[in-house]
Subunit: 203 residues, 2 copies
């Protein structure tokens, strides 16, 4: 399999972490792919939206976005199960992943505000709107940290990657008001070696 | 079930359309929910990210985002199956939905550029970046329209809602270069009454 990816992309990290948890990393060739320059034809052939991560399977199927790739990879090896099929487990896991992806979507928009706009085009109300989504999600998690018994699933791995991205690009300010989630992330990182292995490079 | 929703939200339309296709609309009470005003506590109790659609199930589970709600609803009634479990069908359907969601994500960012920023803060390069994602996706679809035999699935319904949103908020400019997809959407709308029933109100 070939993965169009980037060491700094948190969505790609979800996929790279999933591959490591599932023991599939050796079967995936990762290619660093630039999404900042428009018109990357190699990427658009795989994902017309010009987004990473995007996966080309051994059968030649083009798979995106990160959620679909992670579920696809989960299906390629039996254990551990990251997407439970039992409804009592599946919906909470998928909702948790949606919360983590929502943190990432807001955190990325904050990064893009500065990457794609000169400072005189920044709009504080827009940035506060995104920050409020992150703050709301962190407060929700801190009030009831996700169950974690040492075995990751797609929900907890997405939350971990989201918090890792807040550390990477947003100076870890979430930590000040979320001591339980700080401990939670420490426990996750200690139990899941792939989390450290997929950490973004120093900024 | 209670759905926090909005008549104009294309992500909510995916859910409202799914409910109609599955024969579940009578079991769902829809509440129009404002996401433009910050700090909507009623919404944040359901989805800490302050986004719609968000569903409260009869068991009291809070479910989001639109993809998770649609899969949840698909599981609440046996037919028609919108999320196939057979891998040969499942991955193409999920990738198609990711393409539709990607069109929507870009189209929404273009709307938000004008809704949340005064005109002197608009950034043409950012808007062109989003438009290129839409154009890339439409060209990809036009080159090989999704198979559609009259029976919708989560992939085709997401594509239909994405095209419907481009008609609603972006003056249907996609139509000029995509005659096959125009015919495809006509066929979809004729075969799936819920599509017309969930159309956004006149702008």
């Amino acid at each position: 399999m070939k993965l169009l990816s980037s060491p700094a992309s948190p969505y790609a990290r979800k996929v790279r972490l999933t591959a490591r948890i599932k023991g599939l990393a050796d079967r995936i060739e990762e290619t660093t792919t630039d999404t900042n320059t428009p018109g990357n034809a190699d990427l658009m052939r795989v994902n017309p939206l010009s987004k990473i991560p995007a996966l080309i399977t051994d059968d030649g199927l083009m798979v995106y976005d990160s959620a679909v790739i992670c579920e696809y990879l989960d299906d390629q090896a039996p254990a551990p199960v990251l997407f439970p099929t039992d409804p009592a487990k599946r919906w909470p896991v998928l909702v948790q992943s949606a919360l983590g992806d929502g943190i990432l979507d807001a955190a990325i928009l904050l990064v893009y505000e500065k990457r794609f706009r000169p400072e005189d085009k920044w709009v504080p109300a827009w940035m506060e709107r995104q920050q409020a989504k992150i703050d709301g999600a962190i407060a929700h998690l801190e009030a009831a940290p996700p169950a974690f018994d040492g075995q990751p699933d797609y929900g907890t791995l997405t939350i971990a990657c989201a918090l890792g991205y807040l550390d990477f690009r947003h100076a870890g300010t979430w930590r000040a008001n979320a001591p339980k989630m700080v401990a939670w992330l420490d426990k996750f990182a200690a139990a899941v070696p792939g989390f450290g292995e997929t950490a973004p490079p120093p900024a």
